[in-house]
């Protein structure tokens, strides 16, 4: 059994270096509840802790400021709508396509994730490719929608605030979705080179959850801009 040495030491603040009675040259903390000298193991010795940075935690935290950011813009939107009212612009037809494409891409991405969990790596790769393709298509449909508006002479400036908000909200959403697309491309490359499997899929999970989050945000914006009266 380890003998615990009782030692009463006057602390001398002016002495240099470690006041290290134990005599070992362990330069970190040596108050480990067991006596280092005989290395007894009568309790938990400090284990080197692998710093686990869970990406999913980061994503959950990051979603908070994103919600607040869009919430602030929506707050301005509602304040203006209630205060001055406007004639809403007619929804560019490409928006319908955008919505369908984005919702589909969420579905395909979720299918991809399930395939990965079921260890069907080929299927996973294919569904990821479909999702990425749909994701890029979403951006294309957004551009088409913008072009449809500009063709009708509806710009961003203050003539019709509904138009201004449309441009602002869709561009903010597109910017955030672009980050999601970068993540999706990362997953795509990982899928192509078989870097993921059922146990190594935190990047896939994170990219998927973020994509769903952006999809949900899009649905909310769509309802706000074109459905809610």
């Amino acid at each position: 059994m380890a003998m615990v040495k009782t030692e009463i030491k006057q602390i001398d603040p002016t002495s240099n270096g470690n006041n290290n009675v134990g005599g070992d040259n362990y330069s970190g903390g040596d108050n480990n509840g067991n006596n280092n000298n005989d290395g007894s193991n009568n309790n938990d010795k400090a284990q080197p802790k692998k710093a686990k940075t869970s990406p999913m935690l980061f994503l959950s935290l990051a979603m908070i400021p994103i919600v607040m950011f869009f919430g602030a813009i929506v707050f301005v939107y509602l304040a203006h709508e209630l205060n001055r009212g406007w004639t809403p612009i007619r929804m560019p037809s490409a928006i319908v396509l955008s919505t369908i494409v984005l919702i589909s891409s969420s579905f395909t991405l979720e299918i991809a994730r399930k395939k990965l969990k079921a260890k069907l790596l080929e299927n996973f790769k294919q569904w990821i490719m479909v999702s990425t393709f749909l994701g890029i298509t979403f951006f294309a449909t957004q551009l088409v929608a913008w072009k449809q508006l500009i063709a009708k002479g509806v710009y961003m400036e203050a003539v019709n605030p509904h138009a201004t908000f449309f441009y602002i909200l869709t561009s903010a959403h597109a910017l955030h979705l672009l980050g999601g697309l970068v993540g999706l491309c990362y997953v795509l490359f990982g899928a192509i080179y078989y870097r993921f499997n059922a146990d190594r899929r935190s990047a896939v999970d994170v990219a998927t959850v973020y994509w769903h989050f952006m999809d949900g945000l899009w649905i909310f914006l769509f309802l706000l801009l074109f459905v809610w009266k």
């Binding site: 615990v4 009782t6 030692e7 009463i8 030491k9 602390i11 001398d12 603040p13 002016t14 002495s15 240099n16 270096g17 470690n18 006041n19 290290n20 009675v21 134990g22 362990y26 330069s27 970190g28 903390g29 040596d30 108050n31 480990n32 509840g33 067991n34 938990d44 010795k45 400090a46 284990q47 080197p48 802790k49 710093a51 686990k52 940075t53 869970s54 935690l57 980061f58 935290l61 990051a62 908070i64 400021p65 994103i66 607040m68 950011f69 869009f70 602030a72 813009i73 707050f75 301005v76 304040a79 203006h80 205060n83 001055r84 961003m156 400036e157 203050a158 605030p161 201004t164 602002i168």
Partner: protein, 574 residues
């Protein structure tokens, strides 16, 4: 070189932030000196400065009122953001959070490094505002429209756009940094470091990170919308019918008060952001130097979280006379006064920590006691202002200026001084000079009271704020001697800060060398070398067995037990 410039070591990031905050402090204090000189002696001529910035001075060489307002804007902006949001949280937090929770690094070192450089870039963008056509913006750090929507003229032009861009970049960087802090605290604590064993410094950083995540995005959104108003003529905030440079701006239907709601929804939590880490440091130091546990540790934690939460519910108290409904004012007033409760709890707990302790009056302790004093005095002013009926009179007077300068310009700065003196030995292995520190403390302590306490009287005497001079108003002329007193007190106090800088810089090289735990503190950072090795705990992370404030535990031989100590056996203490 790039090892230090772009280091992933959280300690380097912390020091980078600290250096940025010091530079910002010097700049902002200089601006305030210029302000007070202009205010006290409005007719004075400025030969040197008028050569450097000719547009800021009239033909006789006197400072224009517009430049005074620009100084005021930049002083406020730099202080609030680049000193008080950075130093307590990003500087000390990045350096000491991992050490105090027993982690080898932050959760995302790359994010930490990126957020520092984004912040530094934001600072440069802001300073550029002085040197573009039209000069620095003059709309106040609050940037209310419609004043802030004007796009041409001195103080309105590119400088205002740069201000908005700078703060947008800053907001983004702050959000990144907060993500890093939250993830680190939630996931990287050593085994045994339960949340309720964390030092109160860490709780301060946690609460502040939570506030940042919720508040800064709103500032970011509002700033971008205001920028759009200015750049492409949208009308989120720009009202109809303004006459600018003889021209009527029509067809705008913006809502100026909407900006106020958004800004203060961010702005009020922002000030709690500035004070909460300082409160954590003060709790920590008071306990360490009283050789007593923090009085009511658990209550302190809940009070901190309560202040953080309630801080989001009171933004309207900045808008009592902005035209909001009196019923809304009543609600905000009530909620504002409820914040006094957790604040008072904390204050009483500090006093309770000191009471009956074996006080060691080293400089960190002196600064911390000074913090408590300044916080009480400044906080009492807040109780006046929080009542909407009184605020009708006191709003936009010097009473408000005195109030927030006692809390933010004095108490929060004292917390920074305290933290610097306290942790200096860990960063450099040497102690700051105690004699210089004591002189600095006493003169600064008296000095800030001499500067900011009279401002409450000025406010009650109806002295408005943000005026470049008061000599043209008969009812204010009689206050000029008090302004002179304040300015002289300020000049002395500002000069005494040289002592702090001299102390800080020379102690790095010739300060008294000390061992790893000169203050005989209990927390984990004092178990490692000074300065800590690059990976903090040399690959072996300590086990934590007790809370952070086990001082004077009955039965123990020493009057402190480090967090890594398993039982009351008088094992080796450093």
């Amino acid at each position: 070189m790039s090892k230090y410039l772009f280091s992933l070591d959280h300690k380097v990031v912390g020091l980078q932030y600290y250096l940025l905050a010091l530079i910002a402090l010097v700049v902002a204090v200089s601006l305030s000196v210029l302000m007070r000189l202009r205010l006290t002696w409005p007719e004075d001529v400025w030969p040197l400065l008028s050569k450097l910035l000719p547009s800021a001075f009239n033909s006789a060489g006197q400072m224009t009122p517009e430049f005074y307002l620009a100084l005021m804007t930049m002083h406020g902006t730099i202080m609030v953001f680049f000193v008080l949001t950075i130093a307590p949280q990003a500087a000390f937090g990045n350096y000491f959070l991992p050490l105090q929770i027993g982690a080898n690094k932050m959760a995302a070192p790359r994010i930490g490094q990126t957020s520092f450089w984004l912040t530094a870039i934001a600072f440069c963008i802001l300073i550029m505002a002085f040197f573009v056509a039209g000069g620095a913006p003059l709309a106040g750090w609050t940037a209310y429209p419609p004043l802030s929507t004007i796009t041409s003229g001195t103080g309105h032009a590119r400088g205002m756009d740069l201000w908005l861009i700078s703060l947008s970049v800053f907001s983004f960087a702050a959000i990144l940094n907060s993500l890093n802090f939250m993830a680190t605290i939630l996931e990287n604590r050593a085994s045994g470091m339960k949340l309720m064993r964390m030092p109160l410094t860490c709780w301060g950083w946690l609460a502040t990170a939570m506030i940042s995540l919720l508040a800064f995005p709103v500032l970011l959104a509002a700033g971008l919308l205001l920028l759009l108003d200015r750049l492409i003529g949208t009308d989120f905030f720009t009202p109809n019918g303004m006459i600018v440079n003889g021209q009527i701006l029509e067809l705008k239907k913006g809502i100026p008060i909407l900006w106020q709601h958004l800004f203060w929804f961010f702005g009020h939590p922002e000030v709690y952001l500035a004070i909460l880490p300082g409160m954590g440091v003060v709790s920590h130091i008071l306990s360490t130097f009283s050789r007593k546990p923090v009085f009511g540790y658990r209550t302190m934690v809940w009070a901190t979280l309560a202040i953080a939460l309630l801080g989001f519910l009171v933004w309207g108290h900045h808008m009592f006379i902005a035209g909001i409904s009196p019923y809304l004012s009543m609600t905000f007033s009530f909620l504002t006064l409820t914040i006094a409760i957790p604040s008072a709890i904390k204050t009483l707990n500090w006093l309770g920590t000191l009471w009956g302790g074996k006080l060691r009056l080293a400089t960190p302790m002196l600064y911390s006691i000074g913090f408590v004093s300044l916080f009480i005095t400044g906080g009492l002013g807040g109780i006046f202002l929080g009542q909407s009926s009184l605020d009708i009179y006191l709003h936009d007077t010097y009473f408000v200026v005195g109030h927030f300068h006692l809390i933010m310009g004095s108490a929060a700065i004292f917390a920074i001084f305290a933290a610097t003196a306290f942790w200096f030995p860990k960063v450099f292995g040497r102690q700051m000079n105690e004699d210089l520190g004591k002189v600095h403390f006493f003169i600064t302590f008296i000095g800030v009271y001499a500067i900011f306490l009279p401002m409450h009287f000025l406010g009650i005497a109806a002295n408005p704020r943000r005026y470049a001079e008061i000599s043209q108003f008969i009812y204010l002329n009689q206050l000029q001697p008090l302004h002179k007193f304040i300015t002289i007190a300020m000049l002395i106090t500002v000069n005494v800060q040289l002592l702090f800088f001299i102390n800080l810089i020379t102690s790095i090289f010739v300060g008294k060398k000390v061992n790893n735990n000169p203050w005989q503190a209990t927390t984990l950072e004092w178990t490692v070398n000074s300065p800590p090795p690059e990976n903090n705990f040399n690959g072996e992370v300590p086990n934590v067995y007790r809370g952070a404030y086990d001082f004077s535990v009955p039965g123990a031989t020493e009057d402190f037990l480090m967090q890594t100590q398993a039982d009351n056996e008088p094992l080796v203490n450093q």
